[in-house]
């Protein structure tokens, strides 16, 4: 139910926004208006309505104005205000009449999450949490603009952009199994490094193997609750098992690719009046294809980056546990555009702060998972639970195989700084039994869980709509944030 204090605001905003219409429990429609080509569809509960601001709804309606959009402009349950697309925004486009927009992917191309299971149980870490946290912090550089540990030249960088995680595995930084269980095997085919500017390459080259800043993190968690035993077993997840979750993206390289193509498309096609970030090009045009190619290169950089981080975590943990083993359960993209087949038709799907939900039988997923669906990873905010869900066939029917990607920010960083102190944030984490480390106090303050939506609620909506079925809950033990 809506708390009383929000009632006045809600009425105002609903009237202002020409009413969201409730279709069924957990599904609201933003009806067609003005230049919208399709309606909006937002997967939220009545309780979540209060956190949706007008700017976010405006972004849903702006996306609905893009040529070639199919069925709906979607908002997942963690939707919040972005730029161009909302975060949690998904849209599908016809390959002939549709467009591609860098604003539908975002600046952090292939910002993604990898889950790894280990041969440790919670008790193995007891009393060594601080040492382990420090070792991980040293093994994986944090902070935007901070340099990684692997020095490569331009030629090698081109190979990273073409081959993704495979580049690392071929150099001994990982296993074939790491690739097998990563979305698209850690490599989007069709990336040509010639489509990536020298400037983007210069920004990315020093950063391979680094985490970045903001909401990027490296967590050690424990499997604390199992909802679906059969699927958990297929994923190799057992109660009390220690797992590792890595969240990072394509660093400065991806940011520059997005920025470059926003300007190139603006130059060639101009930009929509309603939002310059929604600048776009026809999918089939030379520029549209060049962006797709550069975006794939950036995505491959992100896959390679996370692969190198995985290797560095393995090496760091082996110093504590000589028999340490860690295997990829899943690695899933948040910010990406991909050509996928839905209902027998090839379409371009843009997911901005949203994840793929592919159910049983999809040929894109590893054969081991084809009976249960590919895992969906929903990280919580710092110190709160994260969830593993399973992709569903239902998601293919109602959201072009998409679901939520995380908790979703609810309060601004400024508000967090005004209300949270470093000491209180660290104490809160300590009370929860969570060890946390960041390069700066600021990171810990701004990422405090009070600034985020309740991830359990986000997961509940996905689960009850059937666009992602709950498999296990993970609770954090050690958190390293950018």
């Amino acid at each position: 139910m809506i708390p009383n204090i929000f009632k006045g605001k809600l009425v105002l905003f609903l009237m202002d926004k020409n009413d969201l219409v409730k279709i069924e429990e957990g599904v609201y429609e933003l009806p067609m208006k003005g230049e919208m080509r399709v309606p909006g569809r937002i997967f939220i509960t009545e309780d979540m309505l209060e956190s949706i601001d007008e700017r976010t709804l405006k972004q849903v309606s702006n996306v609905a104005k893009l040529p070639g959009i199919q069925k709906y402009s979607y908002g997942m349950s963690d939707i919040h205000c972005g730029y161009g697309f909302p975060i949690g925004g998904v849209a599908a486009f016809d390959l002939e009449t549709g467009v591609i927009s860098p604003g539908g992917v975002g600046y952090d191309i292939n910002c993604s999450v990898r889950l790894l299971r280990t041969n440790l149980v919670k008790e193995d870490l007891k009393g060594r949490e601080n040492e382990i946290m420090d070792a991980l912090f040293d093994a994986v550089p944090t902070g935007t603009g901070r340099v990684g540990k692997l020095k490569i030249n331009f030629e090698e960088l081109d190979s990273v952009l073409i081959n993704g995680a495979k580049f690392m595995v071929e150099r001994g930084y990982g296993t074939n199994s790491d690739l097998e269980f990563t979305e698209d095997n850690g490599c989007l085919i069709g990336g040509d490094p010639k489509d990536v500017s020298r400037r983007a390459k210069e920004r990315g080259m020093p950063q391979l193997g680094s985490l970045g800043a903001g909401n990027h993190f490296l967590d050690i968690l424990v499997v604390s609750e199992i909802f679906d035993k059969k699927t958990a077993e297929v994923y190799g997840l057992l109660e009390n098992m220690v797992v590792v979750l890595i969240h990072c993206g394509s660093r400065g390289l991806g940011h520059q690719v997005a920025s470059d193509y926003i300007k190139l498309m603006d130059e060639k096609y101009g930009h929509p009046e309603f939002d310059r970030e929604l600048v776009h090009a026809p999918i089939g045009s030379l520029l549209g294809q060049k962006y797709l190619s550069a975006m794939r290169c950036a995505a491959n950089f992100a896959f390679a980056n996370k692969q190198l981080i995985t290797h560095n975590v393995r090496e760091a943990m082996k110093k504590f546990f000589p028999e340490f083993k860690m295997d990829v359960v899943a690695d899933i993209c948040h910010n990406i555009a991909k050509i996928e087949k839905h209902m027998g038709r090839e379409l371009l799907i843009m997911r901005k702060g949203a994840t793929r939900s592919f159910g049983p039988k999809r040929k894109e997923i590893p054969s081991k998972y084809r009976g249960v669906g590919y895992p969906i990873l929903i990280p919580g905010s710092m110190g709160t639970s994260s969830y593993v869900l399973a992709g569903t066939n239902r998601a293919e029917e109602i959201s072009f195989g998409s679901t939520a990607h995380g908790a979703g920010r609810e309060k601004s960083r400024t508000e967090a700084r005004a209300n949270v102190t470093y000491e209180s944030a660290v104490k809160n984490m300590k009370d929860l039994g969570v060890y946390v480390k960041s390069r700066s106090h600021k990171g810990i303050i701004e990422e405090a869980p009070s600034s985020y939506k309740d991830v359990s609620e986000v997961v509940r909506v996905s689960d009850s709509l059937g666009i992602g079925k709950k498999v296990v809950r993970l609770d954090p033990l050690i958190v390293v944030i950018g």
Partner: protein, 135 residues
Amino acid sequence: MSYEYLDHTADVKFRAVGSTVSEMYISAADALLDTMRGDIKILEQKEISIEVEGKDHEILLHNFLEEFLFLLDAKDFLVAKIKDLSISENKIKFVVVGDSADNYKFTNDVKAITFNEMKIGEDGGKYYAEVILDV
């Protein structure tokens, strides 16, 4: 020369003002740099001359601000101050003074400069720019 942060849920939004366009640009750079490096003191060890172009006001401002992200990521250069800034219709020249970023402990959250809700204009004899940073 000054700026203020405006409310924005997921990202950082600022409004920079100046009595002249050049001052407004420097205020915008201050807002960005303060977000990138916090209020740590950067030594003035090196200078780099920079020239940036843009076909309209928004793109020029975007390219100008993006230069600071490029300097940090690609050149490991952290800016202490800007000098000798001159601006013409679609070109801006300036000199950055600063130091190797590796010498400092800080966290830069800024991933990109966005065009989202970007506004540039004149109000009561002052120039202003509103920019959202993707963090």
